[in-house]
């Protein structure tokens, strides 16, 4: 499989505080990678590096063999979309307006959306089950609804890779499941690669193809969930005693705090 994103020996720090070191892995087409790790392990920073918001101090990131730093922002936005935790709209925008913002990198010089853009936005709204909210103001929505709208915006961007920074943090159980199912189906049907930062180890275990476990800015382990989510690894990284068994319904590793 051809890698879409390649990270080679990435290092980064804020001032003298070194946050990430020697990070190297590849993201393939249609693959879903979960990034797990305790608070402060560098998960969100890693996503920002993959989206070019931050530039690595060491190493290189390639998008299909082309250095990420060579991309114009609008071209990069056609390749990689990100749903970050920082999304505070200062002024009232409708859900449709917010989702259409995802079409920004595709707009011509007139800056107005055409039929293709509307189609992409409607498909994204449908995929995230937010089409009934299209005319509502984003301000009026619950945290979970807002999160789904922001994912719809990322889908409307029609990227090859979507980076999600804790996408299920505001969602209830039903929507958490739906969100992961949606992400999985997008990966499989459209060949879209997804990288998810999450604190939900069980859902990541169930839905991700591979898990990258970060500890203090370095990769502790990278592999399929069964290899990475073991009692020893989770206890070492999270500094917390756990019991890991297999979920009887899915057969995937399941973590319980002791």
């Amino acid at each position: 499989m051809e890698p879409i994103l390649t990270l080679s020996d990435i290092g980064f720090g804020y001032g003298r505080n070194r946050v990430l070191a020697h990070i190297g892995f590849q993201v393939h087409a249609g693959e879903i990678i979960g990034i797990l790790g305790p608070n402060g392990s560098g998960k969100s920073t890693l996503l920002k590096l993959m989206d070019g918001i931050l530039l690595p101090h060491e190493g290189e990131i390639l998008i299909r063999e082309r250095p990420l730093s060579d991309f114009k922002r609008s071209d990069l936005a056609k390749e990689v979309a990100m749903v970050s935790q920082e999304n505070h709209f200062r002024f009232a925008f409708s859900v449709m307006e917010v989702v259409l913002m995802g079409r920004f990198p595709h707009l011509g010089k007139t800056q107005f959306e055409g039929k293709e853009d509307i189609k992409a936005a409607l498909e994204a709204l449908e995929a995230t089950h937010t089409d009934h909210l299209a005319g509502r103001s984003l301000d009026e929505l619950s945290g979970g609804e807002k999160q789904r709208v922001l994912i719809a915006r990322a889908l409307a961007q029609e990227p090859n890779v979507i980076l999600l920074d804790e996408p299920t943090s505001f969602l209830d159980l039903k929507y958490k499941r739906e969100m992961f199912r949606l992400i999985t189906s997008m990966g499989k049907s459209k060949g879209l690669s997804v990288v998810i930062v999450s604190h939900d180890i069980d859902l990541a275990s169930q839905y991700c193809d591979r898990i990258l476990l970060l500890n203090k800015g370095v990769i502790h382990k990278l592999g399929v969930p069964e290899e990475v989510i073991t009692a020893t690894d989770i206890e070492t990284v999270y500094d917390c005693p756990v019991h890991v068994d297999r979920n009887p319904a899915t057969g995937k590793p399941r973590v319980s705090i002791i």
């Binding site: 609008s74 970050s84 200062r90 990198p105 800056q111 089409d131 009934h132 299209a134």
Partner: protein, 348 residues
């Protein structure tokens, strides 16, 4: 229900046709306000004599013609230009700083600009080039100070920028007061009017300088209207969606500074237009800058023409500085907005 909502949302979306139609309607309103302002004033001019003027039956020396063409028309056009620029500047500042309370006056950009203009007069520079150039430099200096002091030490919190603007405003106003207090008498009046805002100094020569600057500024800023929509969601988010944020901010700040510098050089300090008009426009037309920019700027022109008409008629035959009228309306409006939205806006 879902389908209906979806269809409504699609139909309500912004199209170039909708922007043009609403802009044309707003321009008609501006024209009507301008015509009304032309016939209202201390000297009684009837609609009949206005008709005679347009039909060409008035002699060149007719007092009506002189009042309309030499006094009222340049003043009305200047008011329109200034209102246009201040409102446009307000919309753009509010988006760039992600602060609904930002406007060129509150942020101190207007007073920085007036400081530049006063310095030009002190140095004996002329109104043709010297005063507008120094005024632009003053506006630019203020924006630079805001960015440096407001971001480096205390982070990019929008309320910090606002406070910094208030401080810069007070500082430049104090410097202007100093020069007024120590200036020779003949220069005093030309400096004094900057503090209160005065549109009576409108001359066609000035207007021919301001007009093209505003047109160019509008064209450039409109090019960035989509970018501004995304910046209101956060600079990081805007960058993720494909906006070159640093470049956009640099160009927009530069263009707004130029525009504010040029109008303040000929109008002085007129406050709160850039706060009130964009808010009213946002309440009526929504937050999309592709529509908000034309609505605010044309609406601002109409608003200031109306305010100036009030300023020159309310205590007729004397006049009030137009800045007094806008401050009377703007200060309570500011407090109203602060109380209504303060808690939400305090999150950064």
């Amino acid at each position: 229900m879902g389908r209906l909502d979806r269809r409504n949302a699609v139909e309500k979306r912004l199209t170039p046709y909708r922007v043009l139609t609403l802009s044309a309607m707003m321009a008609l309103l501006l024209f009507a306000v301008g015509c009304l302002s032309l016939v209202i004033g201390t000297a009684d001019i009837s609609l009949k004599s206005l008709g005679a003027l347009f039909s060409g039956s008035l002699t060149p020396e007719d007092p009506t013609r002189l009042i309309l063409f030499r006094i009222r028309l340049p003043r009305i056009i200047l008011a329109g230009f200034v209102g246009f620029a201040l409102s446009l500047g307000g919309v753009v500042f509010q988006a760039l700083l992600r602060n609904p309370l930002a406007d060129p006056y509150i942020l101190g950009v207007s007073s920085g600009s007036a400081f530049g203009a006063v310095m030009a007069i002190v140095l004996g520079l002329g109104f043709g080039v010297g005063v507008p150039v120094m005024s632009f430099a003053g506006a630019l200096l203020t924006v630079w100070l805001l960015m440096q002091l407001g971001t480096r030490r205390m982070g990019m919190e929008s309320n910090t920028i606002l406070l910094m603007g208030v401080i810069i405003n007070a500082f430049f106003t104090a410097i202007i007061m100093f020069f007024i207090s120590t200036a020779a008498d003949e220069r005093l009046h030309s400096m004094l009017f900057w503090l209160y805002g005065d549109l009576s100094q409108g001359r066609y020569a000035h207007l021919s300088l301001i007009g093209p600057v505003l047109l160019a500024a509008l064209a450039i800023l409109y090019r960035f209207s989509g970018h501004l929509n995304l910046i209101t969601a956060g600079e990081e988010v805007a960058a993720q969606l494909g906006v070159e944020v640093k470049q956009t901010k640099k160009i927009c700040f530069l263009v707004v500074s130029l525009m504010i510098g040029v109008v303040v050089a000929f109008s002085g300090l007129i406050g709160f237009i850039g706060l009130m008009v964009p808010h009213l426009a946002r309440m009526i037309f929504g937050s999309d800058h592709r529509l908000l920019i034309p609505m605010s700027s044309i609406g601002g022109a109409a608003f200031l023409i109306a305010a100036d008409t009030l300023a020159r008629t309310v205590i007729s035959p004397s006049e009030l500085p137009v800045g007094v009228i806008t401050a009377f309306m703007g200060a309570p409006f500011f407090v109203f907005l602060l109380r209504r939205k303060g808690s939400r806006w305090s999150q950064s």
